[in-house]
C-alpha cells in the first residue's frame, strides 16, 4: 500500500463519489451552524421544498452577535435578536439540537464542538465560519464554508469538493518561556504571508507541535485560514485521545477503545510526501505583535514598526503605507513604545481555559493600567464555569479586568463590544483587518500572556522578561 498523508486518509475515508471531470462528493460527519450564516440556507431549503438529511449530525449555537453582558436583561439590538429567533425557529422546524443564549453549554462554535466531544479525530467537520480549521487540531479535516454550502450539507450531508494540495509546516525545538502557540502561528503567517497557504491543507508537524497541549494546537489550526489555507491539521496522539475521552458525544467504553485503535492509524505514513513544506525552529521564535491591517503584518515584540520604503515590492510598500495611516503609527517606532486603550482576551483563537489560566497568571496581583479598558470573554459557558471554579474570575476582576459571558464579542464586534474610532487594542483574536473590531479601531494581535501584560503596562511589553 502506498504511503499517505493524514489528509489523504481522511479524504479517502469520506469519498461518496469521485470521478474524473467531476467535483468529489465528500461525506460530512459533523456540521456546526450559528445564527449569522445559516438563515439564508434554511430559507433555501424551504424554497426548494427540501429537508435536512441528517438532523442529528448538525449542531447549532448562538455566538457571533450575542451580548456578553447580563443575559437576564432583554436584548436591545432588535436585528440581532431577530437573527437569534430565526435560528431557534429553524432548529425547531428541522429538528436540530441548539445551544441557545441561555443554554448552560452555549459558546463559540469552535470552543463548543471540542468541548462536547463533537470534534473527533478522523472526522470531516464543516461550519459556515472560516475558523472551522480549529477542529483540525484533533486530526480531523475541518474547514469553513459559505451559506450555499451550508444548505448543501443540510440537504445532502455532503459537499462538492476539489482535492487541495498538502503543505507540511514543521516546527522543531523547544519554545522559550512566554512564547506560545499564538506566536508560532503568527510567525508562520508572517513568513508565508496571508495567501501562503491558499489552495492547500496544512499539516503542522515537528517536536514543538507535539509538545503543545490540545488547546494550544487549536490556536495554531484556528489561524490556518489567516494564511489562506483551507484547513490546518495536527496528528492525534495520547493527549488528543485523553482530551476527547468522557465528553458528551465521545464514544464510550469499548466503542472508545475501538475508536482510538482507528484514530491511531490516521497520522501521515513515513514516506508520504507533501506538495509543499517549510521548517521553523521553535528556539528562534519570540512573542509576536501585529503592526498592520492583516495578520502577515507582524514583527517580534523586540522590533520596530517597519518602514514602507524598505518593503521589497511596490504592492507591499503601498499596503504598508495604507496600514500605517490606518493604524496611526510611524515607521521605526519600537513596538514596546506603542500605548494601548483596550485589551480583549477571548475569541475562538484564545478563549479556552488554558488561555485564561496563563493570562490570569500574568494578571495575578497586578493592576490594569489606568486608562486601559480590559475585558475577558470566555469561549463558552463551560469555560466560564471552570474558570470561576478555579478563581480566575477573581484574579481578573481584582486586577481590573471585566469578566463577561461567552461569545465571539470583540473579535468581530457584531455585538456591543466595539472599539471606538482611533482606539488601539491588544487583542488575542485572529484578524486585524480594517474595521474588524469597530470602524477605525486599531487592532494588534497578540497571545493571551502578551495581552494581559499589555493591559498591566498600558503598552506592549516583552512578556518573556516577566518569567521566573
Amino acid at each position: 500500500m502506498s504511503s499517505k498523508t493524514m489528509f489523504k486518509k481522511i479524504w479517502d475515508n469520506h469519498v461518496v463519489r469521485e470521478l474524473q471531470g467531476e467535483a468529489t462528493i465528500l461525506y460530512i460527519d459533523t456540521h456546526l451552524i450559528h445564527e449569522v450564516t445559516s438563515p439564508q440556507a434554511f430559507e433555501g431549503l424551504r424554497l426548494a421544498n427540501r429537508g435536512v438529511r441528517r438532523p442529528s449530525q448538525t449542531f447549532a449555537t448562538m455566538d457571533h452577535n450575542v451580548p456578553t453582558t447580563d443575559r437576564s436583561l432583554p436584548i436591545t439590538d432588535l436585528i440581532s435578536k431577530k437573527q437569534m429567533e430565526t435560528l431557534t425557529e429553524n432548529c425547531e422546524e428541522f429538528g436540530i439540537r441548539l445551544y441557545d443564549l441561555h443554554h448552560s453549554d452555549q459558546g463559540i462554535v469552535h470552543v463548543l464542538g471540542p468541548e462536547l466531544g463533537l470534534t473527533q479525530p478522523g472526522m470531516t467537520i464543516v461550519c459556515g465560519d472560516s475558523h472551522t480549521s480549529t477542529h483540525g487540531a484533533f486530526g480531523a479535516l475541518a474547514f469553513g464554508i459559505g451559506t450555499s454550502e451550508i444548505e448543501h450539507v443540510l440537504a445532502t450531508q455532503c459537499l462538492l469538493q476539489y482535492q487541495p494540495e498538502t503543505f507540511e509546516i514543521r516546527i522543531d525545538g523547544q519554545l522559550q518561556f512566554g512564547v506560545t502557540a499564538k506566536d508560532i502561528i503568527l510567525s508562520v503567517i508572517g513568513k508565508i504571508g496571508i495567501d501562503g497557504g491558499t489552495g492547500t491543507v496544512v499539516e503542522y508537524t515537528g517536536s514543538a507541535i507535539k509538545s503543545l497541549d490540545v488547546e494550544e494546537r487549536m490556536t495554531i489550526c484556528n489561524m490556518s485560514i489567516e494564511a489562506g489555507a483551507r484547513a490546518g491539521m495536527i496528528a492525534p496522539d495520547d493527549k488528543t485521545y485523553e482530551y476527547v475521552a468522557g465528553r458528551e458525544f465521545s464514544p464510550k467504553g469499548e466503542e472508545f477503545d475501538k475508536a482510538v485503535a482507528t484514530w491511531k492509524k490516521l497520522p501521515t505514513d513515513s514516506g508520504a510526501t507533501y506538495d509543499h513544506s517549510i521548517t521553523l525552529s521553535a528556539e528562534d521564535l519570540v512573542p509576536q505583535v501585529t503592526w498592520g491591517t492583516n495578520p502577515e503584518m507582524v514583527v517580534n515584540v523586540t522590533e520596530t514598526v517597519p518602514d514602507p520604503d524598505k518593503m521589497p515590492t511596490q504592492h507591499q510598500k503601498k499596503a504598508a503605507e495604507n496600514a500605517l495611516v490606518y493604524m496611526g503609527l510611524r515607521p521605526n517606532t519600537p513596538i514596546t513604545q506603542i500605548a494601548i486603550d483596550k485589551v480583549f482576551i477571548g475569541s475562538c483563537t484564545n478563549s479556552r481555559i488554558t488561555d485564561l489560566r496563563v493570562a490570569a497568571e500574568v494578571a495575578k496581583d497586578r493592576k490594569v493600567s489606568s486608562g486601559v479598558n480590559a475585558i475577558v470573554v470566555p469561549g463558552s459557558q463551560a469555560v466560564k464555569r471552570q474558570a470561576e471554579a478555579e478563581g480566575l474570575d477573581k484574579v481578573f476582576r481584582a486586577a481590573g479586568f471585566e469578566w463577561r459571558e461567552a461569545g465571539c464579542s470583540m473579535c468581530l464586534a457584531m455585538n456591543d463590544d466595539v472599539l471606538q474610532p482611533g482606539e488601539r487594542c491588544a487583542s488575542t483574536s485572529n484578524r486585524n483587518f480594517e474595521g474588524r473590531q469597530g470602524k477605525d479601531g486599531r487592532t494588534h494581535l497578540v497571545s493571551p500572556q502578551m495581552a494581559a501584560a499589555a493591559a498591566i503596562e498600558g503598552k506592549f511589553v516583552d512578556v518573556r522578561a516577566w518569567g521566573n
Binding site: G146, A319, F433
Partner: protein, 196 residues
C-alpha cells in the same frame, strides 16, 4: 443560479491587494436574514464617510464607473471570513465578473455558487487591464466562459483556467444540491457502510 455564458461590461479598477471580506461587507450588515439588499453596503467603510455621506474619491462613487459590472483588483481578493454576504453584496451591486491574480478559496467558491465568475489572470495581465480601465473612459471587456477568454476592445484576448465541472455548473446554472441528490443512493450506501 442564473447561467453564465458570456458577459460584456464596464470595468472598475480597484487597485489594492488582499481585500478581505470585512471590507467587502462589514459585519454590521450581516444581521439580515435575507440574501438580497446587500449591494448598498458593498465596501461601506470606503464608500461612505462616518456621517453617511458619499466619499467622492472612492472608485465606485466616480461617475465614470457607475454601472460597472466587472471588478479588476489585486491578489488574494476575498480573504478572511467565509461570509457569503460578500458575493451577495457584489452581485446585488451589479458585479458579474471579478478579475484578479488570485482569490481566497472560500470566497472563490462562494462566487461560483452565486453566478459571479472569478477570473484568474497573471499579475502582468491584471495590471494591463487595471491601467487600461483607469486611463480609458468607459473601458469594457467581454468575458466568454465557454471559450475561457477575456477579450479586450482591441480584440486582444487573455485565456484563463477554470475547473471543468465548475465551468459547466456556471454555464448551465446547475443547482448543485440537485446534482448531488441524483446520487442519493450512493450517499445512503456510504452511510450504511460506515454505520451512520
Amino acid at each position: 443560479m442564473e447561467p453564465f455564458r458570456e458577459h460584456i461590461g464596464l470595468c472598475v479598477p480597484l487597485d489594492r491587494v488582499n481585500i478581505d471580506t470585512d471590507q467587502i461587507i462589514p459585519k454590521q450588515f450581516l444581521k439580515r436574514i435575507e440574501r438580497t439588499g446587500f449591494g448598498e453596503f458593498l465596501f461601506n467603510d470606503w464608500r461612505y464617510y462616518d456621517d453617511g455621506s458619499i466619499n467622492p474619491d472612492f472608485i465606485l462613487n466616480r461617475d465614470l464607473y457607475k454601472g460597472g459590472t466587472i471588478l479588476i483588483t489585486g491578489a488574494n481578493f476575498g480573504c478572511g471570513s467565509s461570509r457569503e454576504h460578500a458575493p451577495w453584496a457584489l452581485l446585488d451591486y451589479g458585479f458579474r465578473v471579478i478579475i484578479a491574480p488570485s482569490f481566497a478559496d472560500i470566497f472563490k467558491n462562494n462566487c461560483c455558487k452565486n453566478g459571479i465568475l472569478p477570473v484568474i489572470l497573471s499579475t502582468e495581465s491584471v495590471e494591463e487591464l487595471m491601467l487600461a480601465s483607469t486611463s480609458e473612459d468607459g473601458y469594457r471587456l467581454k468575458i466568454d466562459l465557454e471559450a475561457q477568454l477575456v477579450i479586450r476592445p482591441d480584440n486582444v484576448s487573455y485565456s484563463f483556467e477554470i475547473d471543468n465541472f465548475q465551468k459547466n455548473c456556471m454555464l448551465k446554472g446547475i443547482d448543485e444540491i440537485g446534482w448531488t441528490l441524483q446520487f442519493e443512493s450512493q450517499i445512503a450506501d456510504y452511510e450504511a457502510k460506515s454505520g451512520i
